[in-house]
Assembly symmetry: C2
DNA sequence: GCTTTAGCGTACGTTTTCGTACGGAAAAAA
DNA sequence: TTTTTTCCGTACGAAAACGTACGCTAAAGC
């Protein structure tokens, strides 16, 4: 992001901790703040009338929440919350809109980010329809790992299962295999990524395209 | 769309037939024209390196192609083509960009459409991950039906299977059941929707949210 | 330290979907 | 009309994932 654009936002940015489970956007309710995530992982989750739910994308230090706001709306049907705690900066929607309006370059950058998130969602749809459980789990771990500082993923199998829309027991079995293959180590409530290469092989072409798009569209700019 | 915005576009719009299979946007290649679809159904399909593919959304008389262009990009990783023949009007990307730049109201409308398409993709991801084959097929038929004039869907089971990312034989069996339940009638290369209500029941809450969003965001405006 | 709770490993029968494949019939081509 | 092709109906064993559930154990609370 250009120094000018950063300066434009900085006046209204407020540094905040982001606790696990904290809700950033609730379904069908006006969004109040937009969050620039610097640490931690945000989950964007779709829910329908029968309470079926699944994660459609993650956001991390590469990104920002509030896509509906960027695109001129004030709300989303999705639920957006902190999956892995961290911190970041937030800005009120009003100030955010003002900044977008006054800086075309900032606005263009944000739109490119929104576009890259669409690609991520599209590939989630692909993985959900065609990939096997272990491929999807490997993909998820890689996406989370891309957005974290260290290698430790502080999540229970239960949470991973909800994200992927599969059984908790299915996650346990897959992670066991990963551990035997030396891809991760596990302990209660946490796993650690050991071999990214191995995970990428396991993810089997379901990982990569959105990541390349993110680089093409915004690179290190945000 | 406002009369002014329509006039702005009209100078550069060109009426064209849209043949089945016609490619509107190829992966990773600059988009040349943007299409306002008036008849027929467009499929937006994701493909990955291993040639796994699946449809992430459909566009019809409610909409327009070229979402990447609306969002400031010139290409997409997706493949976009006519699934069901029809016709519409097209405009060169250059003229389209010029029109968007000169009319904020047009631009805002297009962004709202892009936003509604994101919702559709998100719910496709949900359906792919959690719905059963017959639920997904019913959802697809409803979405296509929403975008067509009559009740006839001129597609083979093979094409439906590719869209959903399932076996051709799986589609055949599901359609057989639908026919026995009086939801559709079928003949070689074509099926006809008989009971939308029945299909909505079968789709079981996987249909509806993106449709409501489309109404909220653009209604009859496009 | 002791108790309680949350998370993990495992198991088993069942459902869903897959891969494959074969034959018949409708439509298109010759 | 005859031939060829495309599409559909059906079948069968296999794989993947499901729902459920039970016991063990690490960690948290008292």
């Amino acid at each position: 992001m250009s120094p000018d654009d950063l300066a434009l936002l900085e006046r209204d940015l407020e540094r905040v901790p982001l606790r696990q489970g904290q809700i950033l956007e609730a379904p069908n309710r006006p969004i109040e703040h937009v969050y620039f995530v610097e640490n931690g992982v945000v989950s964007v989750v779709v829910v329908n009338a029968n309470d079926h739910r699944i994660e459609v994308g993650v956001i991390g230090l590469d990104g920002v929440t509030g896509l509906p706001v960027i695109m001129g709306d004030d709300r989303s049907t999705n639920s957006t919350y902190m999956q892995i705690a961290g911190d970041g900066q937030r800005i009120s929607v009003a100030a955010f809109r003002a900044a977008m309006t006054s800086s075309p370059s900032l606005y263009a950058l944000l739109l490119r980010f929104a576009r890259s998130f669409m690609t991520q969602t599209a590939h989630t749809a692909l993985a959900n329809g065609r990939a096997k459980l272990d491929e999807r789990l490997a993909r998820w771990l890689l996406m989370a790992h891309d957005r974290m500082d260290g290698n430790a993923v502080p999540l229970t199998h239960e949470f991973l299962a909800v994200m992927l829309g599969v059984r908790r027991a299915g996650v346990t079995v897959a992670l066991k295999t990963f551990e035997q293959q030396g891809l991760v180590t596990t302990r209660r409530g946490e796993l650690t990524v050991v071999s990214r290469d191995g995970l990428e092989k396991t993810a089997n072409s379901f990982y990569g395209v959105p990541e390349a798009e993110l680089r093409r569209l915004i690179g290190e700019q945000l």
